[in-house]
């Protein structure tokens, strides 16, 4: 039993807390997250970096929801083909979501994981929040 306990500890770092960055609706219903730096992360990372990450995410979501010639064309084409075209190709939004997933993975690997943090892709939370998981700092004793 003691083995199980320590084995689990080794395999999965315990989550110490989670921070939720909520949506910013000041620009309407478009997908945008607050860029305010949460106080819980102060000890773990740089404010600048965090804001940069959030800003990039916001820009990517803006790109997904952008209304322009390209999206209108896609919409009209889809309508004409009775939306069967989406059997073969992805919507613009989906393409950008993939880009976002890649970006988050990248950020996690480079910046957040080394600091014991983890960004969860907002799409997995219904685009409501950006969930940042703070893992226990293993350097300071174990099993707090």
């Amino acid at each position: 039993m003691a083995e199980t306990h320590s084995l689990q500890d080794l395999q999965q770092p315990a989550v110490s807390s989670k921070v939720f960055v909520q949506r910013d609706y000041s620009s309407g219903t478009i997908c945008k997250f607050q860029t305010k730096f949460p106080s819980e992360l102060e000890s773990r990372m740089d404010k600048q970096q965090f804001e940069e990450t959030m800003q990039s995410l916001n820009n990517l979501y803006a790109e997904a929801e952008k209304l322009g010639g390209k999206s209108y064309l896609e919409g009209c084409l889809a309508c004409l083909t009775a939306y069967t075209i989406f059997l073969c190709m992805e919507t613009h939004y989906e393409k950008v979501l993939k880009k976002i997933a890649k970006y988050i993975k990248d950020q996690n690997e480079k910046i957040y994981a080394p600091r014991g943090l983890l960004l969860t892709d907002p799409i997995e939370r219904g685009l409501r929040v950006v969930e940042i998981t703070i893992f226990e700092d293993r350097n300071i004793g174990s099993g707090r």
Partner: protein
């Protein structure tokens, strides 16, 4: 607290012998994975393995379908041969195209996800609760005030309401549908005729459905009248009627439909051009009668732009991953101690449970909060009663699990109305905390009353306060997680 620790030791050994399923390899055991639609908390029906999503009451939808099919069927059988001969064969061709378009848009409206917002994960809900309690300081133990947040959009102050069922602050223009028990983005209305809500993701299909249906109705009406008139020139009015009685039926159906459908199309054309939802229009949210400075912050001011946005704008993907698999792996969450003591102190024990026990289904534990949400308009199913006696085993009543309904419609795989989620979005980062997804798993578990939870004494900081009354054997898919939870048990 060595007594507690020795008890913990006892707990460890008890658990390892008691459970029937092998616990030695909790990470390796692969129980048959269930899809997320099977444990969807809303009142929806799913068909074709989660590809099709409809409201619970679909009777009227079938009526719509029958009316359209029968009327068009009669038209093509009895009127078209005559018209093709006497006038031009283009008529049945055009009619056929219109009919197919109507059917396509109807099915697309009915079967797609209207833009349902997934419910908050337990951690999110706990976080929000903490924030709200912090703001509404001093109202502990009393009926909490209605929770609203104000935000300024384009110069207009918009109130965001807190949804007690979904445990989120609704985005602007979202509303909770009491029939489907879901929050829907850009909620327009719940249409029984299409058997679904009309929201952000299917509004354009709905509009095209009613528009094309108006054309179809007028088309059939006009040509059936033409048929009868032409026939009566040749044979006399009564003979013409006797020869094609179906035409009479069609005229009657079309006559009554025209008024309602054309009216509805006109109304929605107005809504689209002013970028309003039915909900907003009915409430008069942006009406100038409310105030001189009241205007619609979402409208671009230009009719053409508004129409383009509504009809040709980008189609967002579904936020509820219906066909993804429920992930059972989850690292343990050590809840913040201040949260625990705060919840322990308040009367709302249920919210405490929801906060500190991610494995519990939230909406079965919210009776205290529910009472103060009249504006929600939801009629909550009677699952708020937490029974002491049998927390585990079979599905409790009142949990609206959809999957038992057999698909009564043929699977329309031709049009892919389902967005994407089967793919990459479902991959999990190894460290990723998946406990959040558990709230899909747990509706079957009716937790024992909160009195059993000892929030005040977490033994060790990394232990989660979890219920110990799970019967691990009852839920295979929960087993891995419950094992881990039980191993880290801190409450007695």
């Amino acid at each position: 607290m060595h007594l507690g620790e020795s008890m913990r030791e006892c707990e460890y050994s008890q658990i390892s012998t008691r459970s029937s399923t092998p616990m030695e390899t909790p990470y390796k055991k692969r129980t048959p994975k269930r899809k997320k639609w099977e444990t969807f908390p809303g009142r929806n029906k799913f068909y074709c393995d989660g590809r099709i999503m409809m409201a619970k009451q679909t009777g009227v939808f079938y009526l719509t379908l029958v009316l359209i099919l029968v009327t068009c069927g009669l038209f093509f059988t009895f009127d078209c041969p005559f018209l093709a001969q006497q006038l031009t064969p283009i008529i049945p061709v055009l009619g056929g195209a219109l009919f197919l378009f109507v059917l396509g848009t109807l099915l697309r409206t009915s079967f797609s996800d209207p833009g349902v917002l997934p419910r908050a994960t337990p951690d999110e809900a706990a976080d929000l609760e903490r924030q709200i309690d912090y703001v509404a300081n001093g109202t502990k133990g009393y009926r909490p005030p209605p929770r609203t947040k104000e935000v300024v959009i384009n110069g207009q102050t918009v109130k965001l309401k807190y949804c007690f069922t979904c445990k989120i602050f609704r985005p602007p223009r979202a509303s909770h549908c009491s029939l489907c028990d879901n929050c829907v983005e850009r909620f327009d209305h719940h249409c029984p005729w299409v058997g679904n809500c009309v929201g952000r993701r299917n509004y354009r299909f709905f509009y095209m459905f009613i528009l094309s249906l108006s054309f179809l109705t007028i088309f059939i009406f006009a040509f059936v009248i033409t048929h009868i008139i032409l026939s009566s020139y040749q044979k006399g009015f009564l003979t013409a009627l006797k020869e094609s009685p179906a035409s009479v039926l069609e005229v009657v159906v079309c006559f009554f439909s025209v008024w309602s459908i054309v009216g509805l199309s006109g109304f929605h054309t107005y809504l689209i051009s002013s970028n309003q939802t039915t909900n907003e229009d009915i409430k008069g949210s942006w009406s100038s009668k409310r105030g001189k400075d009241n205007y619609n912050p979402y409208s671009s001011g230009n009719i053409f732009t508004n129409c383009c946005v509504a009809l040709c704008g980008p189609l967002p993907p579904s936020l509820i991953d219906r066909r993804g698999f429920i992930e059972a792996d989850a690292p343990q969450m050590a809840p913040p101690t201040n949260g625990i003591t705060m919840y322990g102190a308040t009367q709302s024990q249920q919210s405490h449970m929801a906060a500190t026990t991610p494995l519990l289904q939230q909406h079965s534990s919210e009776p205290v909060i529910i009472t103060s949400s009249p504006e929600n308009g939801t009629s909550l199913p009677a699952r708020a009663s937490l029974t002491l006696g049998g927390p585990c085993s079979s599905l409790p009543l009142g949990q609206p699990t959809p999957p038992t309904s057999t698909p009564s419609l043929s699977c329309h795989e031709a049009t892919d109305m389902l967005p994407i989620h089967g793919h990459a979005l479902n991959h999990t980062h190894p460290l990723q905390e998946q406990a959040a997804l558990h709230h899909y798993l747990t509706p079957e578990e009716v937790p024992s009353p909160p009195g059993m939870l000892h929030c005040g004494s977490p033994l060790g900081h990394s232990h989660t306060v979890q219920t110990s009354f799970y019967n691990p054997a009852s839920q295979d898919s929960l087993h891995e997680d419950s094992v881990r939870g039980l191993v880290k048990l801190s409450s007695v």
